[in-house]
């Protein structure tokens, strides 16, 4: 039986213009672990129709906190791709 690296399922959320680009508000994405937020973004841009128009380095959050793309993700994490913030 060949060696299968552990993989994790990440809940990816899309907002505002990014949600319009991919035509959905969320997706479940599977990544081999260990993985970073950047790996998740890459996977999303490759696999989801319309996602190639999301920037390669968008703002991201994991579990409701802003993170950099080199932050690690675990199975079950919620990763959000955030268009430029316009609050206030």
């Amino acid at each position: 039986m060949p060696f299968a690296p552990p993989s994790g399922t990440i809940r990816v959320r899309f907002f505002a213009r990014y949600a319009e680009l991919v035509g959905r508000a969320e997706a479940a994405v599977s990544v081999p672990l260990p993985a970073t937020v950047g790996d998740v973004v890459r996977r999303v841009r490759e696999q989801l129709p319309g996602a190639c128009d999301i920037p390669e380095r968008p703002l991201t959050a994991v579990n409701l906190r802003h993170v950099k793309l080199d932050a690690s993700v675990r199975d079950g994490d919620e990763v959000a791709l955030l268009p430029p913030i316009a609050g206030g």
């Binding site: 959320r13 907002f15 505002a16 213009r17 128009d53 920037p55 390669e56 380095r57 968008p58 703002l59 959050a61 409701l64 906190r65 802003h66 793309l69 959000a80 955030l82 268009p83 430029p84 913030i85 316009a86 609050g87 206030g88």
Partner: protein
């Protein structure tokens, strides 16, 4: 859902939340939807958000403001949905024993909101068009850089 609302913001309610006999200085900030020379034809802005993260960020930001200004009371309300020109999208009230802390806490909150709170704006124009805009009101068509 403490910090978000879909109704017009009542400043008086925020003032009541933070006022106390020991707090002699209160600073408030209101951000309202503009229709100035740079926003010709804007009739309203539709605000959307990553709701639960907005709540989490505003909880952290107000806690940070209270840490910087011990004894200060800080209240924030961000409105979502369709907001007509002239109405407030955000209200912040900070009350402290003296005015310097009140101004500082209020200013801290709005600056951090602009940097960190995941809210987005779609401008609705009189000609029927709608466009996503950034914090400065410029269309967000070109790919933004990672901060």
């Amino acid at each position: 859902m403490t910090y978000l609302t879909r109704d017009p913001i009542a400043l008086d309610a925020l003032l009541a939340e933070v006022s106390s006999p020991a707090r002699g200085g209160t600073c408030a900030f209101l951000g309202t939807v503009r229709n100035g020379p740079d926003e010709a034809g804007v009739t309203a802005i539709e605000y959307s958000a990553y709701d639960v993260m907005v709540e989490a960020e505003l909880e952290r930001i107000t806690a940070e403001a209270r840490e910087r200004c011990p004894g200060a009371g800080v209240a924030v309300r961000h409105r979502l949905g369709m907001i007509p020109v002239g109405e407030a999208s955000i209200a912040i009230v900070a009350a402290a024993s003296h005015r310097a802390q009140a101004f500082e806490a209020c200013r801290y909150v709005i600056e951090e909101v602009k940097r960190r709170v995941p809210v987005w704006k779609k401008e609705l124009r009189a000609d029927g068009s709608a466009v996503w805009v950034d914090a400065s009101g410029h269309p967000t068509t070109s790919p933004p850089a990672h901060v």
